[in-house]
């Protein structure tokens, strides 16, 4: 078994009808690595996340989580095996409070499953973990506020909170900073770094400043293929990447961000 990798994709393909969206992706992410996936709009980054997290089933190819095949499994099965994802469009429980949102994310991982024979309020470990999460994402003051009434940035933080709540080892974040201002983004990136310490992180990101600040490695996806997967410095120097995608935007981001 190739369990030295936390997440491994082997010639992964996805067709919608006759259209090939993902055209044979190979990717191997070591445990604890932070990988940013970049690429132009429509390159298939979100589809790739959907294939990994079970939202879509691949047409062919394999997805391995810690050496175990997970392609074709249902999202909740994949989540139970230790992979959790966030969404580009905020996807939380609008009519539940911040605390309840996070606690829902915690319950399965602590083994409470479908029980109706215990009171939530007596589950000390779940409640303590929820409080801890709420502190980590900085929403203690909004504890009893319904998620629908939070500000956008707070909802994005809650989105991350729900994603990491189950303690999954592999975290997929789909454009976590989409729609945020520059200062919010900076704050948010440090939050993400903080809460994903020791975890394997894959993130789709558009902001090049964020990408080069956050990632150990960068995967460049163009037209459903990974054309480069290497350290930021190597990717920046990669001629094919420059030609296909980065070009002047890197220089801009470098000039502005650092």
């Amino acid at each position: 078994m190739s369990a030295q990798y936390a997440l491994e994709l082997k010639s992964l393909r996805k067709n919608f009808g006759k259209t090939e969206i993902i055209r044979g992706v190979d990717l191997a992410v070591k445990a604890g690595e932070r990988v940013a996936i970049i690429g132009p709009n429509g390159a298939g980054k979100s589809t790739l996340f959907n294939l990994i997290s079970g939202r879509l089933a691949p047409t062919s190819g394999e997805v391995l989580l810690n050496g175990q095949r997970i392609d074709g499994k249902k999202p909740f099965e994949i989540n139970r095996l230790g992979l959790s994802r966030s969404f580009q469009i905020t996807n939380i429980f609008p009519k539940l409070s911040v605390f309840e949102n996070l606690r829902c994310g915690v319950l399965w991982s602590l083994g409470y499953r479908y029980t109706f024979l215990r009171f939530l309020s007596n589950l000390d470990d779940a409640n303590a973990r929820t409080e801890e999460l709420m502190r980590q994402i900085g929403l203690q003051r909004k504890r009893d506020v319904h998620a629908v009434n939070l500000t956008y940035a707070e909802q994005r933080a809650l989105e991350i909170g729900v994603t990491i709540a189950g303690g999954a080892g592999v975290i997929l974040l789909d454009e976590p900073t989409a729609g945020m201002s520059k200062t919010e983004t900076a704050h948010f990136i440090s939050l993400i770094k903080h809460v994903t310490v020791g975890k394997t992180l894959l993130t789709v990101e558009h902001d090049m400043g964020v990408v080069f600040g956050l990632a150990d490695k960068i995967a460049v996806v163009v037209y459903g293929e990974v054309i480069a997967f290497d350290t930021p410095a190597a990717v920046r120097a990669n001629a094919r990447v420059q030609e296909a995608y980065l070009g002047s935007s890197v220089a801009d981001a470098q000039g502005a961000g650092h």
Binding site: W108, F116, A128
Partner: protein, 441 residues
């Protein structure tokens, strides 16, 4: 991981700890128990006792329905199936006892109904809960019709058009109660009502209960935090079926008859849906209000007027339009205003609304009754007795008079409503500002 968890437990539990006997909760449940106990002592007529008995089991049924609708976001059009099948199983077991077979004490008969409801929920719910949303609603409708029409095909079990009758007084008495007199049946129903309400309330505080809310809010995300949404819906459906069956069992004991054409019908399911919604599906206690209204509507209103379903339909339409959270949400919104000490300004406005509503109701009802009269009772002549006033439906003055009263009422209501909306909006703004201030502090 474990070490951080244990250290944080000590730090966090001090401000988050369950208080099962907090005063407010204790008071409310005591009050509920007292109301159940005292009601038949205050309202002694046999009509009142009949109504109270029906309210008792309808509270259970509407609350069980709200596990689906309010807590799980499942719009079921077939809840009467589980209530009705609970009724049938209960009545057959009673008859078995009556005929000298296995005697299950009458106090346990509602549980027989409950287990029957649960059994059929396990069986039929497996199909139903595969889907959510519109598909779920369609499947429940289909299964409801299927069961209702199948019931007529098996007259030996369902009793055909006449239904099945029973005698609830069989076997040894239970601590001196034989449950012959209606008052004893009432207290049996009341006891079940209290226990079932408490159990269903407890359910809302369990992991499954909370995940059911999460499935209602956003089923897709639930799949990505480790839960199978179908399972969550299925388990909740089974629990709702259990309590529905208990309600059905109690109905059998109460009436000593159950009729398939009536108790399994889509109309009955619709009734549970409408009154649960009217009471308020957003809050746990809403369906209790709904069940009480259901009894008032079906017993008192139907005595008062042939057009009661039309009146009820109008009320329902206005509720959906102006208070989609039902009566419970109206109560809670006003309590919120009162909690922030802003209720005083509304007394006069509520009086004004009520006063303006009188001519609206009188005028509209007069028109409706006149129309009903000429359609249905024209053979009895043009005279109609309307709350002791004789109205001549052949005279134009009657119609014009009623229309004028209605018009005046509508105008007054509109004036009062506009004022109310303005003051209400202002009060809400003040409350929001107050909350912001407290948050910042």
């Amino acid at each position: 991981m474990t070490s951080t968890t244990t250290t944080t437990t000590a730090a966090t539990t001090q401000y988050y700890r369950f208080k099962p006997w907090n005063i407010g909760r204790f008071l409310i449940w005591s009050l509920f128990a007292i109301v159940l106990i005292v009601s038949p002592l205050l309202f002694k007529s046999s009509l009142a006792l009949t109504m109270l008995s029906q309210m008792g089991y309808l509270i259970i049924i509407c609350l069980s329905y709200n596990i689906l609708l309010g807590q799980g976001g499942m719009l079921s059009f077939g809840h009467a199936v589980y209530v009705g099948l609970g009724s049938f199983l209960a009545i057959h077991v009673m008859n078995m006892g009556d005929k000298g077979g296995l005697q299950i004490p009458l106090v346990a008969i509602p549980l027989v109904g409950g287990l029957a409801g649960m059994f059929f929920a396990i069986l039929l719910g497996f199909v139903t809960t595969k889907k959510s949303g519109t598909t779920f609603a369609m499947i429940t409708l289909g299964i409801g019709e299927l069961v209702a029409s199948m019931a007529l095909m098996f007259p030996s079990f369902f009793g055909g058009e006449g239904g099945i009758t029973t005698n609830r007084v069989y076997g040894p008495s239970f601590f001196g109660f034989n449950f012959g007199p209606q008052i004893q049946v009432y207290y049996l129903i009341a006891a079940y009502c209290f226990v079932c309400t408490a159990l269903m309330y407890a359910f809302t505080g369990t992991p499954l209960g909370r995940m059911l809310n999460a499935v209602r809010d956003n089923p897709e995300r639930v799949e990505f935090i480790g839960y199978n949404t179908q399972r969550v819906r299925y388990f909740a459906f089974i629990i709702a079926g259990f309590f529905a069956g208990i309600g059905g069992g109690l109905a059998s004991i109460n009436f000593e008859i159950v009729n398939a054409a009536d108790s399994l019908s889509a109309i009955r399911s619709g009734g549970y849906l409408l009154f649960t919604f009217l009471g308020g599906a957003v809050f746990f206690f809403g369906p209790i209000i709904g069940a009480v209204l259901l009894v008032f509507a079906s017993i008192l209103l139907s005595e008062l007027s042939k057009a009661w379903q039309l009146y009820f339909g109008l009320v329902f339409v206005f509720m959906v339009m102006f208070a989609p959270g039902g009566i419970a949400s109206l109560v809670m919104m006003n309590l919120r205003v009162a909690k922030f000490g802003k209720f005083n300004r509304f007394w006069l406005l509520y009086v004004a609304l009520a006063v303006a509503l009188v001519p609206v109701v009188v005028g509209a009802a007069a028109l409706i009754e006149m129309i009903y009269h000429i359609q249905l009772n024209s053979a009895l002549g043009p005279k109609l007795n309307y709350f002791g006033v004789a109205i001549d439906t052949s005279a134009a003055a009657s119609w014009l008079g009623a229309a004028a009263i209605l018009a005046v009422g509508l105008a007054a209501l509109e004036v009062a409503r506009r004022r109310f909306v303005r003051v209400w909006g202002q009060a809400q703004e003040e409350i929001e500002a107050e909350i912001k201030r407290r948050e910042a502090a």
